[in-house]
Amino acid sequence: MKKETRRVKASLAAGAAAFSLVLVACGGTDNGSEARGDANSGDSEVSGDITLLTPIYEGNEGKQLLEEELLPQFYEQYPEVTVTVDYTNFGSLNEKLTTAVASGLVPDVMMMGVGWIEAFASNGVLADLGEHGVTIDELSGDFTPEILEGGVWEGDLYAVPIMLDTRFGIARKDILAEAGFTEPPGSFEELREYAIALTERSDSGELERAGFDLLSMDLRQMYEVFLFANGGSLFNDDYTEPAFNSPEGVEALQFLVDLVQEDEVEDIGFSSTDIDVHPLLNGRAAMAVGHNNLWIQLQEAAPELADELMPFSITGTQPGMFFGGTLATVSSGSSHPEAAMALVEFLAGEEAALAANEQRGNVPARTALLDSEYVQSNPLVQFAMENLDVAQREGGVPQWLEIRGDFTPAVESALLGQKTAQEALDDLADGARAAMDR
């Protein structure tokens, strides 16, 4: 835990705050934090020691960004606020939150993933941001409805999106060209055809290049991309029943099973989620479902391939793309809700969010940032932003965090042939139903 303390003398800070207030008033930007400062009619009125729990701003670079660039700007605007930062990652976030809630020491500001809001909002851990002056209507111009919905529970806004993690198809243009393909696959059948043609094995039968890599991606997210592309959804419309074991869902999983078991476009064990270099970058795969931040890895590991990566929507009955992301929330038990709200709005504001996205190679949630230099210079992020209208998220029910943990073993059991696609998804649905009934 790193304690960030404000070092600005009160008079300078007050001057800076007043100056920024004037800028806000004159500028009329739709930056949330600036708007909030205006609403408070004087930033020095907002005060208090608050805590921030964040799974982003990871590593030295992230910490440097937050502590040396972003928070000083925040302190200029809110000189009477002190922020204590608790860094974590998404893998440990649940543990942090669980112990925080159990001990009653819930951070004032918490960053969470898409699909997490429902659990925490439904149990009263999160503050309704509408009560602090930030409404869905106010934000609807800045975000697509699907993205905004990630922060909404039962019609109320509990979180403001900062960044998106998207998953979509990515192909190696040069490898496709070798096999005579100039366009990415436009349907499941084409995907299968391409994958078979692009798979390479040695004389002894050992896989040298996967036609389509499924295994470098978390299998839950991999499946969800195909589920969405096949017209399926995780739950029914009113979120009372699991729907991933619908015919569309089963067909999507069966397609993946066939790719592995029948078409043998990738062998189990050929890749995994903890690989150092993505197989698309070292030529061990021709196509894959990839994360938008693959571009960062490309720039570090194989910049010569910058023109060879070709993003595409996985398309079944419709184009499908998955998005997760990070949203900022305020604890319902915060002693300094105004200060916490100010920090949320600052971090979710255009400038801070853009910097955070750039550091992680992620997709800004705000549609206005499509035209930013960062987005325009990153083809994968640009592709994701241009196709956000087809992107779908996971979650929707308070029990999602429990249900999602069972997805990967279920998909694995189907890929390994231990269960049929129908059996795997039916068992998963039974578990989901039991969780939802509790």
């Binding site: 050992e206 429990e402 069972d406 073993p409």
Partner: protein
Amino acid sequence: MTIKPPGTASEAASAARRRPRRSIPAGRKLRRAGWLMVAPALAHTILWIAIPVLATLVLSFTDYQVFRAPRWVALENYVELWNDDVFRKATWNTIVYTFFTVPVSMAVAVVIAVLLNQKLRGRTIYRAAFFLPQVTATVAIAMVWLWMYNPQYGLLNGLLSMVGVPRQIWLGDPSLALWSVIAVGIWQGIGMKMLIYLAALQNIDQNLYEAASIDGASKVQQFFSITLPMLKPATFFVFVISIIGAFQVFDQIYVLTDGGPANATTMMTYEVYRSAFQNFRMGMACAQSVVLFAFLIVLTVINRRLTGGDEK
């Protein structure tokens, strides 16, 4: 009425010596001192062991989901566990893991301890080398093993390919994954057991070996007739801590396999973790912990009976 004149100081002192004490100062003082001395340990035990164990037991009968106050559900959690395929699989995996890691690592440890108890050149270095895995962070060890098990460029497949054996997917193949984890467990567990055995070996009276030699017993006979029986108390201790350690295996699974593939390597402790920190079901996690605790108690009692662990 007569008034006794005051006596001299020596008379008073001797009277005091003669006067019987109103209590048992020596015994009481001793007891008080005893209580004072055990007080820190007692407070620690009550605060950090007894109360949490009791709380775990009570919470195991509740639906406690962190966000809300616990709700009494009686045996519901246990009924759910009984019908839970994944927990059943985790229990079986834990038993298999324990069944293979504990005896194998104990056998290897005792042999190594006997060897390192000889007057070998550089034996201190060997002892340190064998103990090193014990003091190294499991996460670091697991990372090294992850590299060794890597199907593409891992050391093990590299060695296998030199003798023409096809590449294995050590951690990705459900039929191999548990055995791969067990191998790591055996390797890591040898150090501590070896150390305990080594200490026990050095307490065996050398006259026994001399007498046996005079009687014509071979080294092997001495090992089975003197060394092993004399190591019985150490064996009981090693067995108990090994069983407990094996049943609590978590870090290896967390880093190596995440319980996969398809729950092939999930263990009881990993399921406790999942219930508590992924599913927010603290009541269920407590019930799973109680089941784990019950397993350990039963195994310890059985072992005590079998090995005569109560003998001094």
